[in-house]
């Protein structure tokens, strides 16, 4: 779901995908920040093709807004309940909640399946690109928990793969997060979870040029905008 921020920010998804993603968005700090930044970026793309509308648009608009009522600002709702139906509220709320969970669950399940397939295609694609690069370079570090982490990178193509083996799954309510570390600090480049086999392969999204190293931390589920724990491992991206 996290990889959809770009698609979402430039409105390149269907209505249904948009709704599924917007359900996910408020719960994901990393996506929210990224979408906001992408919208600011897109605003610059709009500025680059600026073209004043013909004068009649302004004339029509100014004539029309006089008849358009502005919506009142949003105010947090005060709880108002009628005595008579009060007992029904929790029941209805519970029923509605269950229904929502079921519907959302189905949507998320389908979206996840598709996400998985697409992720695997993207990884396969990127593995080929990186491995075929003339300047491909491999860095390997042992993990404190046993096992190892490897980065395979091509600076020319600005792409890299991250591979771990022998890593235990993140504790409950936590996730592993990948960071590109540069002169201006650490920037998230995605979350990952480890299955029972302790193995993960990830194609890094984001430009590795300008980054010194790739790091891994353990973060609360959903990820953090900045690292909140010490790096588990750090893999140099520089020669």
């Amino acid at each position: 779901m996290h990889s959809l921020t770009g698609v979402y920010a430039v409105d390149a998804m269907t209505d249904i995908e948009r709704r599924v993603f917007e359900d996910h968005l408020p719960a994901c700090g990393v996506c929210t920040v990224e979408v906001r930044e992408f919208h600011e970026t897109a605003a610059r793309l709009a500025e680059a093709v600026a073209e004043p509308p013909p004068g009649q648009v302004k004339a029509r608009l100014l004539a029309s807004i006089d008849q358009v009522r502005q919506v009142p600002p949003l105010i947090p709702p005060e709880p108002v309940q009628s005595e008579r139906w009060r007992w029904a509220r929790p029941v209805l709320a519970a029923a509605a909640g269950l229904l929502l969970v079921a519907v959302a669950g189905l949507g998320v399940f389908t979206a996840r399946l598709q996400d998985r397939v697409e992720e695997m295609q993207a990884v396969r694609d990127q593995v080929a690109t990186v491995l075929a690069a003339p300047d491909v370079r491999t860095v390997n570090e042992r993990l404190p928990s046993g096992g190892s982490a490897t980065v395979v990178a091509s600076a020319d193509r600005g792409e890299a793969l991250f591979v771990v083996s022998g890593l235990p799954p993140a504790p409950d309510g936590r996730t592993y997060q990948l960071w590109l570390i540069g002169a201006d600090g650490a920037r998230s480049t995605g979350l990952f979870d480890v299955g029972a086999d302790g193995e993960v392969i990830r194609a890094l999204s984001g430009d590795i040029r300008g980054s010194k190293a790739l790091g891994v931390t353990v973060e609360p589920a959903g990820g953090s905008p900045r690292p909140t724990t010490d790096l588990l491992v750090q893999l140099s991206l520089r020669k």
Partner: protein, 199 residues
């Protein structure tokens, strides 16, 4: 004693304070100030209309959508939340989405015969290959675009300036869906960084 230039506040970096003045104008608009609305229109109408025109092409429809966007800005100025982004981003996001929605609605009406649609897409590609190089007024954006890989640039251009879905982009460029997803995101990350977008 010379104090030197004061440090820039948030939102001032690229626009020399224009960003901040858009926020002020919108606040006045939220109070029902029509003159502030006129000024705001003067400031942001060119980018709204520019992006709408790129997506829709048709001049009459573009004018309509531009007018709709500003009517919406007027109507919902009271709901703008500065913590969620700049006024420029709020307005252009709205403009892009409306233009894209208009295109998709029209497409849904004409795409009933899948085979015709496929044939048209193939034809559309020749057209795209020629026109994927959008004329960009701004040197900085042009330079940022030239820093992208070809695939990133094509993905961003087709999705943003042409209003294609990522499935359509994947189809046109003959690349797996997952790849388009990541290239779009990577492209935007690279643009964000080289344009120095506020973070």
């Amino acid at each position: 004693m010379s104090s030197g230039p004061r440090p820039l506040r948030r939102g001032e970096r690229h626009s020399g304070g224009r960003g901040a003045s858009l926020e002020r104008l919108l606040a006045s608009v939220a109070h029902g100030d029509q003159r502030a609305f006129e000024k705001l229109y003067g400031e942001v109408a060119p980018r709204v209309h520019g992006v709408v025109r790129r997506v829709l092409r048709d001049p009459a429809q573009s004018e309509e959508v531009t007018q709709e966007v500003f009517t919406e800005v007027w109507r919902t100025a009271t709901r703008y939340d500065g913590t969620r982004g700049s006024v420029a981003a709020w307005v252009t996001t709205m403009a892009h989405r409306r233009a894209v929605d208009r295109v998709r609605a029209a497409q849904a009406a004409t795409d009933r015969d899948q085979r015709v649609a496929v044939r048209e897409q193939t034809r559309a590609y020749d057209d795209v290959a020629e026109q994927v190089e959008i004329r960009l007024e701004q040197e900085q954006v042009r330079r940022a675009m030239s820093n992208l890989t070809d695939l990133q640039r094509e993905a961003v251009t087709l999705a943003y300036y042409r209003g294609y879905t990522y499935r359509e982009v994947a189809e046109l460029l003959d690349v797996p869906l997952g790849t388009i997803k990541t290239r779009l995101r990577d492209g935007l990350i690279r643009l964000r960084d080289s344009l120095g977008v506020e973070r």
